[in-house]
Amino acid sequence: MNNLNELTVRVGCLERRLPIVRTGNLERVPLVEFMGDSAFTNAAAQEMLALIPPQTQVLLTVVTNALPLTHELSDRSGIPYVCARKKRRTYMHEPLIQQVPSMSLGVTETLWLDGPHAARLTGQQVTIVQDVIASGGTAQALARLVERAGGTVSAYIAAFRRGAPPMAVRALQDLPTHL
């Protein structure tokens, strides 16, 4: 039974009650937190292994919440991963800079991919990994980074999909859009 402020989800043999929070554009969305929950992360990673296309050579994700999830997927699959940042770091060398299409009321985001990390995508089949794909804006920006680095996007995978993103997303389950 869900109350108004929580949504209960089941991943593998684990159940979690996700708090429902208001985002910038005043939508009510369930908050998926892999950070701080290694058991939930492991359960999702185990289920998501089946979503990775076999030709995948590298996984690409973005900070922050999907990071432990992608690490766990990488360790379990043996496929290396690359992580884009949301801020410039002083040590970055010739980074690729990619704007995320604006989705919620005037909030824009920029992704930074350090040059040596971008080089790991060149000529590779890349699967994009996220915790949740909803509008698909971040996924599109990650795909642009793959193309600009000279790689090819094999698939978009996510623990959860919400709504109807513009690309084909392989997800474990859908989150409700009206809460």
Binding site: P19, V21, R22, T23, G24, L31, M35, G36, S38, T41, N42, V63, T64, L67, P68, H71, E72, S74, D75, P80, Y81, V82, C83, R85, R89, T90, Y91, H117, R120
Partner: protein, 182 residues
């Protein structure tokens, strides 16, 4: 490019030596995207973790996967201290710190929701590299403020000065560099 060789468990890496300030260079250790090093370090640090620790606390971003692995291996929960305040946080506790790798003031924020998981508990702080100790100092202040006890600090490397209070797998020296070189 000059490099500095390090060993983490059975894994070795040649870290690039990069300038961070006039005359000062560091061996750049970045676990992000390095599954092998993160697993090796996390498993080793989980083994070195004192048995009486209740909870791990880590700053985002670079030590996040490390804390996940230590948590997975030790069975102890971990809490992430964020670098920005999120709209959904309840009564957040914040501190400012100046970081050596960014040179800018950096905010550290604990969600009030996590306070009860730290109060009265023995805490181990988890970080990738403890260098100037600025981040560590601010995290200690936050943990003190909410009534937790810092019982251990674990990191993959200490950097610059030796730090006997930190359980680390190795040490990174600071390097002098030609200030005109970039």
């Amino acid at each position: 490019m000059n490099t500095f060789k390090v060993q983490v468990g059975a894994v070795t890496r040649d870290l690039p030596i990069v300038p961070v300030a006039p005359g000062v260079s560091v061996a750049l250790f970045n676990m992000l995207g390095d599954t092998e090093v993160t697993e090796a370090a996390g498993r080793e640090l989980a083994r070195l973790l004192p048995a009486d620790i209740d909870v791990l606390v880590t700053p985002e971003v670079k030590a996040l996967s490390l804390a996940h692995v230590i948590s997975r291996e030790s069975g102890k929960p971990y809490i992430v201290i964020r670098k920005t305040q999120k709209p959904y946080m309840v009564d957040p506790v914040a501190r400012e710190v100046v970081s050596i790798t960014t040179g800018k003031p950096q905010l550290l924020v604990l969600d009030g929701f996590d306070v009860q998981k730290i109060r009265g508990r023995k805490v181990a702080i988890v970080d990738d590299v403890v260098s100037s100790g600025g981040t560590l100092h601010s995290i200690r202040q936050i943990i003190d403020e909410v009534g937790g006890e810092v019982a251990a600090v674990v990191a993959v490397f200490t950097e610059g000065q030796e730090r006997p209070e930190v359980t680390a797998l190795g040490h990174l020296p600071l390097f002098e560099s030609d200030p005109t070189e970039r």
